[in-house]
Structure formats: C-alpha cells, structure tokens
C-alpha cells in the first residue's frame, strides 16, 4: 500500500502541475495572437 500511495502522490502532483502548466501555455499562445506586442511590456 505504501508504494501505491507514494506513486499516487507523485503522479498526481507532477501530472497535475504539468497538465495545468500545459493548459496555461496553450491559452497564453491563443491570447498572444490577439494581443499586439506593445501590450506586453516584458518582451
């Protein structure tokens, strides 16, 4: 049981963070297509 739980934790944590990051990046690209560079003062 220990191994299972440890595995669940690591998979859920990094899988979850990875999925959310990917979703965020995808959305960011969609936004970037509509937003001209001057509205992005960090570039």
């Amino acid at each position: 049981m220990q191994t299972t739980f440890v595995a669940i934790c690591y998979v859920a944590t990094f899988g979850g963070i990875g999925l959310l990051t990917a979703a965020m990046m995808r959305r960011a690209r969609q936004l970037a297509d509509k937003v001209p560079p001057e509205d992005r003062p960090w570039t």
Binding site: M1, Q2, T3, F5, V6, I8, C9, Y10, A12, T13, F14, G16, I17, L20, T21, M24, M25, R27, A28, R29, L31, A32, D33, K34, V35, D39, R40, W42, T43
Partner: protein, 248 residues
C-alpha cells in the same frame, strides 16, 4: 506574429532560465525523493510523500501571504497598479493548486502513518479553512466589472482574510490541540532525507515563482484584450453611427 524558439509568448530570458533550472531541479528532486533517499525506520516509504507535502504546504502559505501583500500594495494609493492585482490573483491560483496537493498528500500520508485519511486537528483544519478562503477569493475575482473594481473588491477580501486567519487559527487550536503523536518529525532524519527535503523546498519555490510569473503575464494579456475589446466595440459603435448618419 513572431514566436520565440523556446518558451511562449509570456517568456523572457529570465523566465526561460528559471524554467530550465526548475525542470532540472524537479528531475533531481524526483530522483532523490523516490530513489536515492532511504526509507524511514518508522514510516517506511511513506516519508517520501512528505518530501512533497511539506514544501507545498509552506508554499501555499507563502502564496497566501504574497496575495495579501500584493493586495495591500494595490490598496495603498501610492503604489496602486493593476500589476499588483494580477500578482495577487496569480499567486492565489497557484496557492490553491499547492494547497490542494498539500491536502491530498497529507491525507494519503495520514492513512499510512495514523490509519485515517482525515483528522480534526488544528493544523489540518486551519489548512482546509485557508483552502476554502482561497476558493472564495477566486470566486470574487470572477464577479465581473472593471479591472479596478475587481482589484479593489478582491484586495478587500484578501485583507479581511488576513484578519480572519489568526482568529481561525486560535479558535481551532484551542478547539482541537495538536496531539503529540502527530508531529511531522518522527525519529531521526538521515542526511539524504534532509537533503531531499531541502531540494524539495528549493524546487517547489522555484516552481511557484515560475508559475506566478507566467500566470501574471497571462492575466495582463487577458486584461489588455478586454480593454481592446472594449475599444473596438466603442469604435465599431461610433462608425455605425457615422455610417447611419452618412446614408441618411
């Protein structure tokens, strides 16, 4: 539209460097957390869950502090800027994520160590309370209205939450004091275990900063898009009016 070779539209040299460092750190962390560090004498493999649980808990609390501080920065007239509002929002989102991980890993670890998935002690209850408060804060952020209305409203909620948290902490601690057998440090921590904790703290902190940075920039783009949308709608309305006038 130019795309950078690596990274996306919210990347800068700094964030790319940070992202790379974070990724390397994560691999290192998993290697040590899962493989190179030894099992605990008492807890066995269960201690590996703590390598995630402890850092995410600290960071969730840090994220909350950042949200509160950024909210205060927004409310203070001299430093009022929507950037603070967006940092507050981004930090809260990442905080909710980390807090969810904390609660999940904590529950599973608890099942392994104490036999129960849940315990009504002061630490767990306060953390859960903070989680609910965050969720409420994020809900308030989505109420609509102008960016500044959103910012002011959310800032007030965040600052009220800062007032609440000590009250909740004290009442819950008097209500259910921490039982002795439930402290995290059970027995000795070997060198490699301490190291894994250390790596975990650093890596998750970098991850937090990276996530908030990108999310905050994303929110800036969304706000800019909103503003443009409004301008376009107004311009369209104006040109309609002009056309209507011209064809009369």
């Amino acid at each position: 539209m130019s795309r950078s070779v690596s990274g996306g539209p919210t990347s800068t040299t700094f964030s790319r460097a940070l992202g790379l460092a974070t990724l390397i750190g994560l691999i290192w962390f998993v290697a040590f957390g899962l493989f190179f560090s030894p099992d605990d004498e008492v807890q066995g493999k269960g201690v590996r869950i703590l390598y995630i649980h402890v850092p995410t808990a600290w960071l969730a609390y840090l994220a909350f502090l950042v949200t509160a501080a950024a909210s205060a920065a927004y409310m203070w007239k001299r430093t009022r800027s929507l950037t603070w509002d967006r940092i507050a929002g981004a930090s809260a989102e990442v905080g909710v994520l980390f807090m969810g991980i904390t609660l999940l890993t904590g529950s599973l670890w608890g099942r392994l160590s104490w036999g129960t998935y849940w315990v009504w002690d002061s630490r767990v209850t306060t953390t859960t309370f903070l989680f609910i408060t965050y969720v409420g804060y994020l809900a308030v952020r989505n109420l609509g209205g102008s960016h500044h209305q959103r910012a002011k409203r959310s800032a007030i909620i965040a600052l009220l939450a800062v007032l609440e948290i000590p009250l909740v902490h004290f009442s819950v601690t008097w209500w259910r004091p921490l039982h002795q057998g439930e402290s995290v440090a059970s027995g000795k921590l070997s060198g490699l275990m301490l190291f894994s904790f250390f790596v975990g703290m650093i890596v998750f902190t970098m991850l937090y900063v990276w996530l908030v940075l990108h999310r905050q920039r994303m929110l800036a783009m969304e706000d800019a898009l909103d503003d443009r949308g409004l301008e376009d709608a107004l311009a369209a309305r104006r040109s309609e009016a002009i056309d209507a006038g011209a064809t009369r």
